[in-house]
Amino acid sequence: MNGEEVKKKVAEVLSKVDVVIAYGQGFDAAHGEPCFITKKEELDSLILNPLCEHNLASYLPSQKKKKTGVVVKGCDSRTIVQLLEEGLIERENVVIIGVPCRGVASAKKLSKALGHRQVEALRFEGDLIVAKTSEGEKRISLVDVFPDKCRTCQYPTPLVYDVLVGEPIESDKDPDSVYGDVRELMGKSLEERKAYWEKEIDRCTRCYACRNACPLCVCQDSCIAETRDPHWMSQRSSLSEKMMFHFIHAIHLAGRCTECGECERACPMDIPLGKLKKKINMDMLELFGYKPGVNREDKPPLYTFKVEEERIEEHEL
């Protein structure tokens, strides 16, 4: 990840598009943030380092007809592939600046590692994060603050791009590890799993950050969790309403979720929402042999219909 090189590439792309969505420095030294670049003078504010945790492809469906450049990591590129598979964006309206990535820092885990202190300065030394707080300087290994997705990353290099910043890299992570966390949870009894999700989801405030950050959650303002007419879901803040909302979200993403982790990253209450979606993706893989966002020519299974599915046993009539 090279900040200067990305500035150069963004500058090139900027002349061909209305806006480039890239990364800038966030509100403090330990945060990056999405940055919408429309003028050359703004290029100086760009960054490219492990603070670039967000999936910027999330903004693409709402860019409508605007010609948009976007900086994507390998994981984020799956979102673009999936959006293309589903016809939610048009390829000719997007210029993809791909960034091979060896892993980013989870802002939440980094904050925890720094005792939730204000961060005065931060720099990277190889795979180390060196951060200064009022308690002094602390050195943290990037691997220790990886978001879960980076631990098992299979696609460090973008699957689709127009420009690549740096050299492609291969994954060194075991493909079997991807669903390790889900398998571990599924090893528990139904009652234990229910208790686990009830405890986690009870913290939900129905702020819909997970939904709005989700690149594939395209109903947005028409989401049935909020519609007032018809009034599908009660506005009570009870556990059953919260569970209902999260299950709707998860089921709407069956065979669509590219496991970018934005839902989990966006959640201010730290609910492990990615795991819920991964479980359904795991089922989709078993039932339909389908993995979202890896091949533009694929047809998402729930977009098609077969009288007899090969891996689904029909009920006797």
Binding site: G26, D28, G32, S45, S134, T205, R206, C207, A213, A266
Partner: protein, 351 residues
């Protein structure tokens, strides 16, 4: 009755237990990696290390509450005649919130002029709740309380201010309700510790960044505030979720819905968020704020222009949660700085 008290660290549990006997006690507890206000019980995993993820606003202004229940009743003589029975319960019990932060306590002062006279539910809870605040030893990511007339040891809105010292907690009574708390038998004389507490207050105050100056007198440039271009640039990255408003100690907007079963139901008031598209959706189909730019403008305007015009105070206590937990780092303090006369509208730094 003492005005200053002290609790050694090992006496904190007995103090909380004693409070829990007198009040429905709400305390910040560890909940996974988050901290949430929960009813105190034996074995509660109390966490005083940092502010809770969400303000304790919900203790007095719950996220959702039934204003009344209704039931349709058919007349036994003539089933065609249907009568509606209404039942409203105003909350009654005594409660206490311990270890909210000064910005959390101040939040209630901002809600008061809106609800106190108009709303029996809020009024009843507010009057019966004792607020025991924990002073902040240092600022947390995003904090800017000193820019909005507050401070890490500000007593506004609190009944007691608690300050962590080396071996215990210094307690200062701010109101009569606070004096009643200091009468607890677990509380020792605090006078010898006052100086140490004041020293800590001063040190913490100096560490909080000043995001803009002027406090309640912050001068918002009308030209910039009314510029659509400004708001579109500022909100390009906004996801239009409600994290900022729902974690906020001062946001108070609500929605009212009838949650019905077949022949009975509740009229529920629940938090609503000006960040949502539905918030201003009118029955006619028209929506005056259909895009995120005017919605975020409303949030900033409400806190820094409209509310101050009406009530003479800013509707923001600088807790920083909307910055700290925003998924994409919207920074309201920076937006206000850019809007203020000192800010430079031509300089785009993102927000």
């Amino acid at each position: 009755m003492r005005e200053a008290g002290y609790i050694p660290k090992d006496a904190l549990r007995p103090f909380l237990e004693s409070l829990a006997k007198r009040f429905a006690l709400w305390a910040p507890c560890k909940d996974g990696e988050t901290i949430t206000f929960q009813p105190y019980r034996d074995g509660s995993d109390i966490c005083l290390d940092r502010p809770a993820n969400a303000a304790p606003k919900g203790v007095i202004f719950p996220q959702s509450e039934a204003l009344f229940t209704f039931a349709l009743r058919k007349s036994p003589e003539d089933p065609r005649k249907v009568d509606v029975a209404l039942d409203a319960q105003v909350p009654a019990g005594e409660a206490a919130i311990i270890a909210g932060r000064p910005c959390d306590a101040k939040g209630f002062l901002i809600l008061d002029p809106v609800y106190m006279d108009a709303d029996p539910y809020y009024k009843s809870r507010r009057e019966k709740t004792t607020i025991i605040t924990l002073a902040c030893p240092h600022p947390y990511p995003g904090c800017f309380c000193t820019s909005v007339e507050g401070g890490p040891a500000d007593t506004a809105g609190s009944d007691v201010l608690m300050t962590e010292l080396k071996g215990g907690y210094f307690l200062e009574a701010v109101t009569d309700k606070g004096n009643a708390v200091l009468a607890d038998k677990a509380v020792q004389d605090g006078a010898p510790h006052r100086q140490e507490a004041e020293k800590r207050h001063k040190a913490a105050y100096d560490k909080v960044k000043k995001a803009f100056s002027g406090g309640r007198g912050v001068r918002i440039s009308e030209e910039r505030f009314l510029s659509d271009e400004f708001w579109e640039e500022v909100t390009a990255k906004c996801l239009s979720c409600g994290a900022c408003t729902y974690l906020c100690p001062t946001c108070y907007c609500f929605n009212i819905t009838d949650e019905k079963a077949v022949d009975k139901g509740e009229r529920v008031r629940s938090w609503d968020s000006c960040m949502f598209q539905h918030f201003t959706q009118e029955t006619s189909g028209h929506n005056p704020r259909p895009k995120k730019a005017p919605r975020f403008k409303q949030r900033v305007g409400h806190k820094f222009v409209y509310y101050p015009e009406k009530y003479g105070e800013l509707a923001c206590s600088g807790c920083g949660r909307c910055i700290r937990y925003c998924p994409i780092g919207m920074e309201i303090s920076k937006v206000v700085a850019r809007l203020s006369d000192e800010g430079d509208a031509s300089k785009k730094e993102g927000t």
